[in-house]
Amino acid sequence: MRVLNRLVEFVGKVGCFSLRVLADCWRPPWEIAQLFRRLAEVGNRSISLIVVSGFALGAVMTLHTRSTLVSFGATAMIPAVQAVSFFVEIGPLVAGLLLAGRVGSGIGAVLANMRATEQIDAIESLSIDSFKFLVVPRVLACVIALPLLTLFMDFSGLLGGFLSEEFSSHIGLQLYLSRAFDGLQWSNFIAPTLKTTVFGFIIGSVSSYFGYTTDKGAQGVGEAATNSVVVSSLLIILADVLLIKCIFFLFPDTAI
């Protein structure tokens, strides 16, 4: 019962925190400079990780797919399978989970450290709204950056898949791409990519919540970093289930 109470309390607090983020997004002053700074930070921190992971995942997936499809004589389907799986699910989900690990932990740790060293109090003492200054730009940066990073993930996955296929069957780039995009519709691409804005919001607001609200000093820094990764990863996976149902409802064609 006590665990349930704490869970409900936690959900309520994170919910209120997220609603405050949504409300403050529309309230001036808008922290444009901070937003660009955070966007650059999120991009710089994650782009190489996303590209390398996507490339390796694409290559590995192609090797596995080939070993299965070869027994059905359907190796020509490999580019299409690769494209659909990356654009529809693997790209958005893996990019979200990687960002939760790379950026979420950073946001949690930085804000918790600022709380522990009274930097947040210092911002308030200078008549600056610390929530708008620190939290809102970080959440927005995650919301904006994650769809872009997902695109990098998708295309580096395709590239990894192509190179793997090229070594196996010398397929050629043009043929690979034409087979990859042949059966792909815009709805397979746009809706799953846009759903990562929700993942970005989850990462930004959950990580900021743990960092901004900690009151445990130095110990809270480590806890905030760990909790940010664990909770945002879990929420991303749970949200993915709901979002896929929503996408199937809005775009029935994608529910193959």
């Binding site: 450290n113 009274e118 930097q119 210092a122 003492s125 008549s127």
Partner: protein, 232 residues
């Protein structure tokens, strides 16, 4: 009154300071000295009671009103609380950019002048991680003063510093008071500093204000803790 959970930190504290006056707040560790400063700055809210800055009671005041009141106050944090990701120049320029209509050139002048006042005129491009403890304290003081507040709240400005650096900080505070009429509320354990700076002394013990008066008055106080704190 202010409590944290079951623990009551402040119980019965009431005092008033005038413009241009320096009040040092003394007390044993954990008696609510820093909490008192945070209540004045409205970084915390008391469970009951009032905090008046000029004609405004900051308790229960909305954010918009608070931001007006806070412009009258400067706060030197115990560990300076400089923003890690900004240079010293940017630390001082931030409030000027946000809260004043000064041009870029004017902001540069004000920041340079304020840093020079605290002896850091050549260090504006440095990040806080590159500064010594004493330099951080001076930088924190510069940031607290950059908006020219009427009241400066200083939380242990000499803690962790050698006696010479501590007295340099005290001199900066006294100069500010003399030249600008800034009121000072200084939480400190440094008795030498109290004798140098304080017009009056407030002594807190177990959340109560047990003595308030000039250094001479407090050193003859009937309260044992107050007398020992100021004389030993």
């Amino acid at each position: 009154m202010k409590s944290f959970g079951e623990k009551r930190v402040l119980n019965n504290v009431s005092f008033q300071i005038e413009q241009g006056e320096a009040v040092c707040v003394l007390g044993r560790s954990g008696t609510g000295k820093s909490v008192t400063l945070k209540l004045i700055m409205a970084l915390m809210r008391p469970d009951s009671g009032e905090v008046w800055v000029d004609r405004d009671n900051v308790v229960g005041m909305a954010e918009r009103g608070l931001s007006v009141v806070r412009k009258k106050l400067g706060y030197l944090f115990q560990d300076a609380a400089l923003f890690d990701s900004l240079t010293l120049y940017e630390n001082l320029a931030l409030p000027l950019k946000r809260l004043t209509n000064k041009s870029k050139g004017e902001i540069e002048n004000v920041v340079h002048r304020t840093l020079t006042d605290v002896g850091l005129g050549a260090d504006g491009a440095k990040y806080p991680s590159a500064l010594s403890g004493g330099m951080k304290k001076r930088a924190g003081l510069a940031r607290a003063l950059v908006l020219e507040p009427k009241i400066l709240l200083a939380d242990e400005p000499s803690s962790g510093l050698d006696r010479i650096t501590a007295s340099e900080i005290d001199e900066l505070l006294m100069r500010r008071k003399a030249e600008h009429g800034t009121a000072l509320i200084i939480v400190t354990h440094d008795v030498h500093g109290v004798h140098r700076v304080a017009d009056r002394v407030a002594v807190l013990d177990k959340g109560d204000l047990v003595a308030f008066g000039s250094v001479a008055e407090v050193s003859q106080s009937e309260n044992d803790v107050a007398r020992r704190l100021i004389t030993e």
